[in-house]
Symmetry: C2
Amino acid sequence: MQRRGRRGYGAQGGCRRRIGRFLEPCLLLLLHAGESHGYELLENLNRFGFGGNPADSSTIYRILRSLEERGFVTSMWSEGDSGPARRVYTLTEEGNVYLDTWVTDLEETDRILHSFFSEYHNHMEIHHANDGETGKRKE
Amino acid sequence: MQRRGRRGYGAQGGCRRRIGRFLEPCLLLLLHAGESHGYELLENLNRFGFGGNPADSSTIYRILRSLEERGFVTSMWSEGDSGPARRVYTLTEEGNVYLDTWVTDLEETDRILHSFFSEYHNHMEIHHANDGETGKRKE
DNA sequence: ATCATCTAGGTGCTGTATGCACTTAGATGG
DNA sequence: CCATCTAAGTGCATACAGCACCTAGATGAT
Protein backbone atom coordinates (compact mmCIF):
# COMPACT_ATOMS: atom_id res chain seq x y z
CA MET A 1 0.00 0.00 0.00
CA GLN A 2 2.33 2.66 -1.28
CA ARG A 3 0.69 5.74 0.20
CA ARG A 4 1.99 7.98 -2.54
CA GLY A 5 -0.18 11.00 -1.83
CA ARG A 6 -1.56 12.60 1.31
CA ARG A 7 -5.18 12.48 0.23
CA GLY A 8 -7.00 12.90 -3.02
CA TYR A 9 -5.06 13.43 -6.19
CA GLY A 10 -2.35 15.86 -7.19
CA ALA A 11 -1.77 16.69 -3.55
CA GLN A 12 1.83 17.71 -3.93
CA GLY A 13 2.89 17.46 -7.52
CA GLY A 14 1.87 14.42 -9.49
CA CYS A 15 -1.00 15.02 -11.84
CA ARG A 16 -2.44 11.54 -11.89
CA ARG A 17 -4.48 10.78 -14.96
CA ARG A 18 -7.02 13.46 -14.58
CA ILE A 19 -7.47 16.30 -16.95
CA GLY A 20 -10.62 18.12 -16.07
CA ARG A 21 -10.53 20.92 -18.55
CA PHE A 22 -6.73 20.70 -18.39
CA LEU A 23 -6.46 24.44 -18.08
CA GLU A 24 -3.30 24.18 -16.04
CA PRO A 25 -1.07 22.82 -18.84
CA CYS A 26 -2.62 25.29 -21.28
CA LEU A 27 -1.64 28.15 -18.99
CA LEU A 28 1.85 26.70 -18.59
CA LEU A 29 2.23 26.48 -22.35
CA LEU A 30 1.08 30.06 -22.84
CA LEU A 31 3.57 31.17 -20.20
CA HIS A 32 6.30 29.15 -21.90
CA ALA A 33 5.77 31.44 -24.88
CA GLY A 34 6.34 34.48 -22.69
CA GLU A 35 5.31 36.14 -19.45
CA SER A 36 1.73 37.28 -19.18
CA HIS A 37 -1.01 38.18 -16.73
CA GLY A 38 -4.27 36.47 -15.81
CA TYR A 39 -6.66 38.56 -17.85
CA GLU A 40 -4.59 38.17 -20.99
CA LEU A 41 -4.11 34.43 -20.45
CA LEU A 42 -7.85 34.08 -20.09
CA GLU A 43 -8.37 35.52 -23.55
CA ASN A 44 -5.56 33.49 -25.11
CA LEU A 45 -7.07 30.26 -23.85
CA ASN A 46 -9.52 30.41 -26.75
CA ARG A 47 -6.65 29.31 -28.99
CA PHE A 48 -7.07 25.84 -27.54
CA GLY A 49 -10.67 25.57 -28.59
CA PHE A 50 -12.39 26.51 -25.36
CA GLY A 51 -14.47 28.93 -27.36
CA GLY A 52 -17.94 27.57 -26.80
CA ASN A 53 -17.51 27.11 -23.08
CA PRO A 54 -14.87 29.60 -21.95
CA ALA A 55 -13.11 29.25 -18.63
CA ASP A 56 -14.20 31.27 -15.65
CA SER A 57 -11.72 33.97 -14.60
CA SER A 58 -11.79 32.82 -10.99
CA THR A 59 -10.51 29.43 -12.07
CA ILE A 60 -7.63 31.00 -13.97
CA TYR A 61 -6.57 33.22 -11.11
CA ARG A 62 -6.74 30.33 -8.69
CA ILE A 63 -4.69 28.04 -10.93
CA LEU A 64 -2.05 30.76 -11.31
CA ARG A 65 -1.86 31.22 -7.54
CA SER A 66 -1.56 27.48 -7.05
CA LEU A 67 1.22 27.29 -9.66
CA GLU A 68 3.07 30.03 -7.83
CA GLU A 69 2.71 28.28 -4.46
CA ARG A 70 4.26 25.20 -5.98
CA GLY A 71 7.12 27.20 -7.51
CA PHE A 72 6.18 26.66 -11.15
CA VAL A 73 5.71 30.35 -11.87
CA THR A 74 6.76 33.59 -10.23
CA SER A 75 4.79 36.82 -10.27
CA MET A 76 5.31 40.51 -9.84
CA TRP A 77 3.04 43.52 -10.03
CA SER A 78 3.62 45.55 -13.14
CA GLU A 79 3.31 49.25 -12.45
CA GLY A 80 3.43 52.08 -14.92
CA ASP A 81 1.11 50.52 -17.45
CA SER A 82 -2.29 51.81 -18.39
CA GLY A 83 -5.28 50.44 -16.52
CA PRO A 84 -5.26 48.67 -13.16
CA ALA A 85 -2.14 46.90 -11.92
CA ARG A 86 -1.39 43.53 -13.41
CA ARG A 87 0.16 40.55 -11.76
CA VAL A 88 2.58 39.31 -14.37
CA TYR A 89 3.53 35.65 -14.26
CA THR A 90 6.77 34.10 -15.50
CA LEU A 91 7.43 30.40 -15.94
CA THR A 92 10.26 28.98 -13.84
CA GLU A 93 12.59 26.16 -14.81
CA GLU A 94 10.56 23.89 -12.50
CA GLY A 95 7.43 25.03 -14.30
CA ASN A 96 9.02 24.10 -17.57
CA VAL A 97 9.71 20.59 -16.31
CA TYR A 98 6.20 20.42 -14.89
CA LEU A 99 4.77 21.30 -18.31
CA ASP A 100 6.70 18.40 -19.83
CA THR A 101 5.34 16.11 -17.11
CA TRP A 102 1.85 17.30 -18.00
CA VAL A 103 2.42 16.59 -21.68
CA THR A 104 3.65 13.06 -20.96
CA ASP A 105 0.65 12.52 -18.72
CA LEU A 106 -1.79 13.89 -21.28
CA GLU A 107 -0.30 11.68 -23.96
CA GLU A 108 -1.03 8.70 -21.72
CA THR A 109 -4.54 10.04 -21.17
CA ASP A 110 -4.87 10.36 -24.93
CA ARG A 111 -3.96 6.68 -25.32
CA ILE A 112 -6.58 5.65 -22.77
CA LEU A 113 -9.13 7.88 -24.44
CA HIS A 114 -8.43 6.29 -27.80
CA SER A 115 -8.63 2.80 -26.34
CA PHE A 116 -12.09 3.85 -25.17
CA PHE A 117 -13.03 5.08 -28.66
CA SER A 118 -11.64 1.91 -30.15
CA GLU A 119 -13.66 -0.28 -27.76
CA TYR A 120 -16.72 1.81 -28.46
CA HIS A 121 -16.56 1.69 -32.24
CA ASN A 122 -15.53 -1.94 -32.29
CA HIS A 123 -18.41 -2.90 -30.03
CA MET A 124 -20.94 -0.83 -31.95
CA GLU A 125 -19.84 -2.43 -35.20
CA ILE A 126 -20.46 -5.90 -33.83
CA HIS A 127 -23.69 -4.74 -32.24
CA HIS A 128 -25.06 -3.36 -35.50
CA ALA A 129 -23.83 -6.36 -37.47
CA ASN A 130 -25.86 -8.58 -35.11
CA ASP A 131 -28.90 -6.35 -35.67
CA GLY A 132 -28.47 -6.96 -39.38
CA GLU A 133 -28.29 -10.74 -38.97
CA THR A 134 -31.43 -10.99 -36.88
CA GLY A 135 -33.27 -8.31 -38.79
CA LYS A 136 -33.73 -6.23 -35.63
CA ARG A 137 -31.97 -3.04 -36.68
CA LYS A 138 -33.56 0.17 -35.51
CA GLU A 139 -31.47 2.80 -37.24
CA MET B 1 -26.27 35.02 -18.21
CA GLN B 2 -27.92 31.82 -19.31
CA ARG B 3 -27.92 29.96 -16.00
CA ARG B 4 -27.86 26.61 -17.72
CA GLY B 5 -27.03 24.54 -14.66
CA ARG B 6 -27.96 24.70 -10.98
CA ARG B 7 -24.42 24.94 -9.74
CA GLY B 8 -21.15 23.41 -10.75
CA TYR B 9 -20.98 21.17 -13.75
CA GLY B 10 -22.93 18.15 -14.80
CA ALA B 11 -25.54 18.93 -12.17
CA GLN B 12 -28.42 17.32 -14.01
CA GLY B 13 -27.22 15.75 -17.21
CA GLY B 14 -24.83 17.71 -19.38
CA CYS B 15 -21.24 16.60 -19.06
CA ARG B 16 -19.46 19.78 -19.91
CA ARG B 17 -15.96 19.26 -21.21
CA ARG B 18 -14.58 17.46 -18.27
CA ILE B 19 -13.33 13.96 -18.26
CA GLY B 20 -11.47 13.31 -15.07
CA ARG B 21 -10.70 9.65 -15.43
CA PHE B 22 -13.89 9.35 -17.49
CA LEU B 23 -14.89 6.23 -15.65
CA GLU B 24 -18.57 6.94 -16.19
CA PRO B 25 -18.58 6.42 -19.98
CA CYS B 26 -16.34 3.37 -19.58
CA LEU B 27 -18.90 1.82 -17.24
CA LEU B 28 -21.70 2.70 -19.63
CA LEU B 29 -19.86 1.06 -22.49
CA LEU B 30 -19.22 -2.11 -20.48
CA LEU B 31 -22.92 -2.21 -19.59
CA HIS B 32 -23.84 -1.71 -23.23
CA ALA B 33 -22.09 -5.00 -23.88
CA GLY B 34 -24.30 -6.69 -21.28
CA GLU B 35 -25.56 -6.45 -17.72
CA SER B 36 -23.02 -6.73 -14.98
CA HIS B 37 -22.34 -5.93 -11.34
CA GLY B 38 -19.94 -3.49 -9.69
CA TYR B 39 -17.19 -5.87 -8.71
CA GLU B 40 -17.02 -7.36 -12.20
CA LEU B 41 -17.11 -3.94 -13.85
CA LEU B 42 -14.23 -2.86 -11.65
CA GLU B 43 -12.09 -5.68 -13.03
CA ASN B 44 -13.13 -5.10 -16.63
CA LEU B 45 -12.09 -1.47 -16.45
CA ASN B 46 -8.51 -2.58 -16.97
CA ARG B 47 -9.40 -3.13 -20.61
CA PHE B 48 -9.32 0.63 -21.04
CA GLY B 49 -5.77 0.93 -19.83
CA PHE B 50 -6.35 1.93 -16.23
CA GLY B 51 -3.99 -0.86 -15.25
CA GLY B 52 -1.23 1.12 -13.56
CA ASN B 53 -3.59 3.24 -11.52
CA PRO B 54 -6.77 1.24 -11.04
CA ALA B 55 -10.00 2.85 -9.96
CA ASP B 56 -11.15 2.66 -6.36
CA SER B 57 -14.17 0.44 -5.80
CA SER B 58 -15.99 3.16 -3.86
CA THR B 59 -15.84 5.39 -6.92
CA ILE B 60 -17.35 2.67 -9.11
CA TYR B 61 -20.20 1.93 -6.74
CA ARG B 62 -20.97 5.62 -6.37
CA ILE B 63 -20.97 6.21 -10.12
CA LEU B 64 -23.33 3.27 -10.59
CA ARG B 65 -25.72 4.62 -7.94
CA SER B 66 -25.61 8.04 -9.55
CA LEU B 67 -26.35 6.53 -12.97
CA GLU B 68 -29.33 4.74 -11.49
CA GLU B 69 -30.65 7.90 -9.83
CA ARG B 70 -30.54 9.59 -13.22
CA GLY B 71 -32.31 6.70 -14.91
CA PHE B 72 -29.41 5.59 -17.11
CA VAL B 73 -29.23 2.12 -15.57
CA THR B 74 -31.54 -0.08 -13.52
CA SER B 75 -30.46 -2.61 -10.92
CA MET B 76 -31.74 -5.71 -9.19
CA TRP B 77 -30.29 -8.06 -6.64
CA SER B 78 -29.32 -11.39 -8.10
CA GLU B 79 -30.03 -14.26 -5.73
CA GLY B 80 -29.20 -17.92 -6.13
CA ASP B 81 -25.64 -17.35 -7.29
CA SER B 82 -22.58 -18.35 -5.39
CA GLY B 83 -20.98 -15.82 -3.08
CA PRO B 84 -22.63 -12.73 -1.63
CA ALA B 85 -25.58 -11.09 -3.37
CA ARG B 86 -24.79 -8.95 -6.39
CA ARG B 87 -26.50 -5.84 -7.55
CA VAL B 88 -26.77 -6.37 -11.28
CA TYR B 89 -26.99 -3.28 -13.45
CA THR B 90 -28.64 -3.02 -16.84
CA LEU B 91 -28.32 -0.11 -19.26
CA THR B 92 -31.56 1.67 -20.12
CA GLU B 93 -32.43 3.28 -23.43
CA GLU B 94 -31.74 6.66 -21.79
CA GLY B 95 -28.37 5.34 -20.68
CA ASN B 96 -27.66 4.33 -24.24
CA VAL B 97 -28.38 7.86 -25.43
CA TYR B 98 -26.30 9.24 -22.56
CA LEU B 99 -23.37 7.07 -23.66
CA ASP B 100 -23.59 8.56 -27.14
CA THR B 101 -23.64 12.05 -25.62
CA TRP B 102 -20.52 11.15 -23.68
CA VAL B 103 -18.78 9.91 -26.83
CA THR B 104 -19.61 13.11 -28.71
CA ASP B 105 -18.33 15.10 -25.78
CA LEU B 106 -15.14 13.09 -25.47
CA GLU B 107 -14.49 13.47 -29.19
CA GLU B 108 -14.68 17.23 -28.69
CA THR B 109 -12.33 16.91 -25.73
CA ASP B 110 -10.02 14.89 -27.93
CA ARG B 111 -9.97 17.71 -30.48
CA ILE B 112 -9.09 20.25 -27.79
CA LEU B 113 -6.44 17.93 -26.42
CA HIS B 114 -4.89 17.58 -29.84
CA SER B 115 -4.99 21.31 -30.43
CA PHE B 116 -2.99 21.54 -27.20
CA PHE B 117 -0.47 18.96 -28.44
CA SER B 118 -0.26 20.78 -31.75
CA GLU B 119 0.37 24.14 -30.04
CA TYR B 120 2.92 22.49 -27.80
CA HIS B 121 4.94 20.76 -30.50
CA ASN B 122 4.72 23.70 -32.84
CA HIS B 123 5.91 26.07 -30.16
CA MET B 124 8.72 23.78 -29.05
CA GLU B 125 9.90 23.44 -32.62
CA ILE B 126 10.18 27.20 -33.01
CA HIS B 127 11.72 27.43 -29.57
CA HIS B 128 14.43 24.90 -30.35
CA ALA B 129 14.99 26.36 -33.81
CA ASN B 130 15.71 29.71 -32.12
CA ASP B 131 18.15 27.96 -29.81
CA GLY B 132 19.85 26.63 -32.90
CA GLU B 133 20.17 30.10 -34.42
CA THR B 134 21.78 31.52 -31.32
CA GLY B 135 23.81 28.39 -30.74
CA LYS B 136 22.18 27.73 -27.38
CA ARG B 137 20.64 24.34 -28.07
CA LYS B 138 20.77 21.89 -25.20
CA GLU B 139 19.52 18.65 -26.80
C1' DA C 1 -16.94 -25.37 15.15
C1' DT C 2 -14.25 -21.30 14.45
C1' DC C 3 -11.38 -18.54 11.94
C1' DA C 4 -9.22 -16.55 7.83
C1' DT C 5 -10.05 -15.15 3.38
C1' DC C 6 -12.46 -14.02 -0.77
C1' DT C 7 -16.33 -11.83 -2.91
C1' DA C 8 -19.45 -7.99 -3.02
C1' DG C 9 -21.30 -3.77 -1.75
C1' DG C 10 -21.16 0.02 0.75
C1' DT C 11 -20.35 4.69 4.08
C1' DG C 12 -17.65 8.66 6.06
C1' DC C 13 -14.24 11.86 5.64
C1' DT C 14 -11.09 14.72 3.29
C1' DG C 15 -8.86 17.17 -0.37
C1' DT C 16 -9.12 19.00 -4.88
C1' DA C 17 -11.61 21.22 -8.89
C1' DT C 18 -14.65 24.38 -10.71
C1' DG C 19 -18.61 27.34 -11.73
C1' DC C 20 -21.44 31.35 -10.36
C1' DA C 21 -22.20 35.45 -7.86
C1' DC C 22 -20.17 39.16 -6.04
C1' DT C 23 -16.45 42.62 -4.56
C1' DT C 24 -12.52 45.78 -5.03
C1' DA C 25 -10.16 49.28 -7.56
C1' DG C 26 -7.66 51.94 -11.03
C1' DA C 27 -8.35 54.21 -15.62
C1' DT C 28 -11.12 56.52 -19.02
C1' DG C 29 -14.64 58.95 -21.24
C1' DG C 30 -19.21 61.29 -21.22
C1' DC D 1 -19.87 62.37 -10.79
C1' DC D 2 -21.00 58.25 -12.85
C1' DA D 3 -20.84 54.34 -16.20
C1' DT D 4 -17.82 51.21 -18.12
C1' DC D 5 -13.72 48.64 -19.06
C1' DT D 6 -9.73 46.29 -17.28
C1' DA D 7 -7.79 43.36 -13.79
C1' DA D 8 -7.71 40.63 -9.80
C1' DG D 9 -9.75 38.60 -6.44
C1' DT D 10 -13.17 36.15 -2.52
C1' DG D 11 -17.23 33.29 -0.86
C1' DC D 12 -20.04 29.62 -1.49
C1' DA D 13 -21.88 25.41 -3.28
C1' DT D 14 -21.23 21.48 -5.80
C1' DA D 15 -18.71 17.70 -7.89
C1' DC D 16 -15.23 14.13 -8.09
C1' DA D 17 -12.01 10.89 -6.31
C1' DG D 18 -9.00 8.45 -3.01
C1' DC D 19 -8.33 6.24 1.49
C1' DA D 20 -9.89 4.09 5.55
C1' DC D 21 -13.17 1.51 7.29
C1' DC D 22 -17.55 -1.41 7.77
C1' DT D 23 -21.02 -5.27 6.77
C1' DA D 24 -22.03 -9.74 5.38
C1' DG D 25 -22.40 -14.17 2.75
C1' DA D 26 -19.56 -18.12 1.03
C1' DT D 27 -15.73 -21.21 1.28
C1' DG D 28 -11.94 -23.73 2.81
C1' DA D 29 -8.39 -24.86 6.40
C1' DT D 30 -7.27 -26.26 11.12
